[in-house]
């Protein structure tokens, strides 16, 4: 029973943290372009630094 008193608040606060993270990402526009995000990871953004082939 004592374990529950710790575990339940822990579980709830973890869930709340997830909810807060979702709100933040929604406000930040992270869901605007889901397919694009998957594509953008493939873009090299340091083309100038790359040694010439």
């Amino acid at each position: 029973m004592n374990g529950l008193l710790i575990l339940i608040p822990v579980a709830l606060s973890l869930g709340l943290a997830g909810l807060a993270a979702f709100f933040w990402s929604l406000r930040d526009g992270q869901f605007e372009d889901l397919d694009g995000a998957a594509m953008r990871i493939l873009i090299d953004d340091d083309e100038k630094e790359r040694p010439a082939p």
């Binding site: 529950l4 579980a11 909810l19 709100f23 372009d33 594509m39 873009i43």
Partner: protein
């Protein structure tokens, strides 16, 4: 000039425009657009939205759409401007629902964990603790996540009507209140999980529905905005001054320079110039107007200065007349009642009376108010339309995703319902059955050097024929030649020097045009300084698979007809070629009247058109489609916009819409079937929170799974 000052000037006055760029396929395309576009002058940033295949361009306010399209063209992408597509306040409503959904989902999951412990045998003080914890989570969550329903229900009750949200609100509030009472008195069953799960499922349906809601964009407003804000008025004494469009009066003489749009209807008095009527007719070929010819507000003067005697201003202008027609047509269309709403009208009273009857029945049977109320709550929770609320939006969202991948942008969920009912299709000719832009009909075989010179010349001009030639000359594999002394003589052509010798892309002389009686505006002569002069004729080509698309449509039970503003002969030739009836010389009001009489006769016409003159018809028709190359008015008035040159999207959209409605009907059967099974149990008092949780989630999941079959519907 100070660079900093220039930059701050840009950001202050920066405007942004959204473009559809259907040709984006990979990460490379995103990188190319976002890096290369800002390198052209005036463009400060470009941001790709790959899911929607759109690009948001921030640019200096003086850049017009054609300039931006040219910038896209220079890096090898075809772009079409999208108007009024970004609706900010819709986004706010959607975000509000999403937040409510997140809260309801979070609370439902946590309460469900506690409930599982109760169902698996927790009793005594631990059950009481779990119930209290559930109440602690559920009460604020219901208060927050239930607001969209409570507000809508309150509005309905205030207006003396009832809607789907009334039984939902009563059910949720009663269930929460009863559970709180049970918790306080140490009862066995609490319904917090059921109430929250109900909210979560319903909100999921609402979120999807909100995504599909039509944007009530007023195409008419955009239309009038496209005319010039004012004009240069010539006074009797020869002086001229700028006057706002509202202050112009009939009889004023206006001086219209090349490149200016007309602010009022008028008659050309002096001068001779070609006018771009594409805003009004959607036709790309410029029309030459000589003294005595009538010109309309919104058209663009291409070549030289003319003076114009004003014949109509303000609301009397032809363009304002079209705007008025569209306004009234849009109002008529809003009377369409969506399938889900029709279902709700029947469903809500049934649910109310069922719950009230079971309460009364158990009271009469002597069960006591406590148990009777518990049973009534169970009935309300069980009948609450989780699966019913998901039946329509899930299917529509899935099919719209599939259609978007196939190049069909659906602007409104109810458009699919209306499209599935369509039983007749009416086409505009120019720009709809045809591409609406000149295509070279006899491109001569050019040597490599000649092709490079031609490309160089074509890139120096923004004349429609030059643009068409540039596109026809193909991809970037042939780079443009470096030309010197480039001179653009309005109405004549482009003259330049290549390695010292004169080259030109110009209007052909009467000797060079071998086809007698042809409009000289639709041909250019390429002079390479040596060798023969090439004359290239242009014509508006039929869309590549128009015939197949029309055959497919009539096989689907949608016989076609042409309804055009063009000359009768041109329409007759086209209708003979495509094997369908055609009518020419129709004015916008006549097209509208034709559609209205069809609708009055109980038909459901699908209108496919692009031009401004089709705007009222597109807005009136039962359902309408427009190509992405359409005028912005056409795009806004249409329910579905198809990308690309092919007409195959039209029959594909019809098939997808019919598949959607089939799945929606199956979903209704599944949802109602579940109720038929579960409601007797609830009335009999056999439904515990566990049974309710399982029944609700299973029926919702089945409906979602059935809708997922539509992922491949738009092929």
């Amino acid at each position: 000039m100070n660079v900093e000052a220039l930059r701050s000037d840009w950001t202050r006055g920066a405007s942004s425009t959204r473009f559809a760029v259907p040709d984006m396929h990979c990460a490379g395309c995103i990188a190319k657009i976002e890096r290369m576009l800002p390198q052209s002058p005036g463009i400060s940033a470009a941001r790709v939205n790959f899911s929607a295949r759109t690009v948001m361009v921030s640019h200096a306010p003086h850049l017009a759409e054609p300039d931006l399209i040219r910038a896209f063209d220079a890096i090898g992408f075809e772009a079409q401007p999208l108007h009024g597509a970004a609706a900010a306040q819709r986004n706010i409503a959607l975000q509000r629902l999403l937040r409510a959904l997140a809260v309801a989902g979070f609370a439902a999951m946590n309460v469900m964990l506690l409930s599982v412990s109760v169902w698996s045998g927790a009793n005594g003080s631990s059950r009481s603790l779990f119930h209290w914890l559930s109440a602690l989570i559920a009460l604020p969550a219901v208060a927050y996540a239930g607001r969209p329903f409570f507000e809508s229900a309150a509005r309905a009750l205030k207006a003396g009507t009832t809607n789907m949200d009334v039984p939902i609100s009563i059910g949720v509030i009663l269930a929460t209140a009863m559970s709180l009472f049970e918790t306080m008195t140490g009862g066995r069953h609490a319904w917090f999980d059921g109430a929250l799960m109900l909210l979560a499922f319903l909100l999921a349906g609402r979120v999807l529905d909100e995504m599909m809601r039509g944007r009530a964009a007023s195409g008419a407003e955009a239309l009038v905005r496209r005319t010039a804000p004012g004009a240069l008025v010539l006074a009797e004494d020869g002086t001229s001054r700028w006057m706002a469009a509202d202050d112009l009066a009939v009889g004023d003489r206006l001086l219209v320079a090349a490149g200016e749009r007309l602010a009022a209807d008028g008659v050309v008095e002096t001068g001779r110039s070609r006018f771009d009527l594409s805003l009004l007719t959607g036709e790309s070929a410029p029309v030459t107007l000589a003294p005595g010819a009538a010109a309309m507000a919104g058209t663009l003067n291409l070549d030289g200065p003319v003076t114009l005697r004003v014949t109509a201003v303000g609301e009397a202008r032809a363009i304002a007349e079209i705007a008025r027609l569209m306004e009234s047509a849009t109002q008529a269309k809003s009377r369409f009642v969506r399938l889900a709403d029709r279902a709700a009208r029947l469903y809500a009273p049934a649910v109310h009376s069922l719950a009230a009857l079971s309460f009364a029945g158990w009271m009469i049977a002597g069960a006591g108010w406590h148990q009777s109320l518990l049973i009534a709550v169970a009935v309300l929770l069980i009948t609450c339309p989780c699966a019913l609320g998901l039946a329509v939006p899930v299917a529509q969202v899935v099919v719209c995703g599939a259609m978007m991948r196939a190049g069909l942008l659906v602007k409104d969920g109810s458009a699919l319902e209306r499209l599935a009912e369509a039983d007749e299709v009416l086409f505009d000719k120019t720009g709809t059955l045809t591409l609406g832009r000149p295509q070279p009909v006899d491109l001569p075989a050019l040597g490599e050097e000649e092709a490079r010179i031609a490309r160089g010349l074509a890139m120096a001009s923004r004349h429609p024929l030059a643009v068409a030639l540039r596109q026809a000359l193909g991809g970037a594999d042939v780079g443009p030649a470096t030309l010197t002394d480039v001179e653009d003589i309005a109405g004549e052509g482009i003259y330049a020097r290549f390695e010292g010798r004169p080259v030109a892309m110009r209007r052909p002389t009467s000797k060079e045009t071998d086809r007698a009686g042809q409009e000289d505006a639709m041909a250019v002569a390429l002079d390479f300084g040596r060798g023969p002069v090439h004359v290239i004729h242009f014509a508006d080509a039929l869309r590549p698979d128009a015939a197949e698309a029309i055959a497919a449509l009539s096989k689907l039970g949608l016989p076609g007809a042409i309804m055009s503003g063009d000359r009768m002969e041109a329409v007759a030739a086209m209708s003979g070629r495509l094997g369908m009836a055609g009518e020419g010389g129709m004015r916008p009001a006549e097209k509208l009247a034709r559609l209205e009489s069809l609708i009055a006769a109980g038909r459901h016409p699908l209108m496919v058109g692009d031009g401004l003159n089709d705007g009222p018809a597109l807005a009136t028709a039962h359902v309408s489609m427009a190509p992405a190359s359409a005028s912005d008015v056409g795009q806004q008035a249409a329910d579905i916009v198809f990308l690309g040159d092919s007409l195959a999207g039209v029959p594909r959209a019809v098939r997808a819409a019919r598949a959607t409605m089939a799945v929606v009907r199956q979903n209704f059967v599944l949802a109602i079937g579940y109720n038929v099974l579960a409601v007797p149990l609830a009335i009999a008092g056999q439904v515990t929170p566990l049974v309710a949780a399982i029944a609700m989630s299973t029926s919702s999941l089945i409906v979602i799974a059935n809708s997922m079959r539509l992922r491949w519907a738009a092929r």
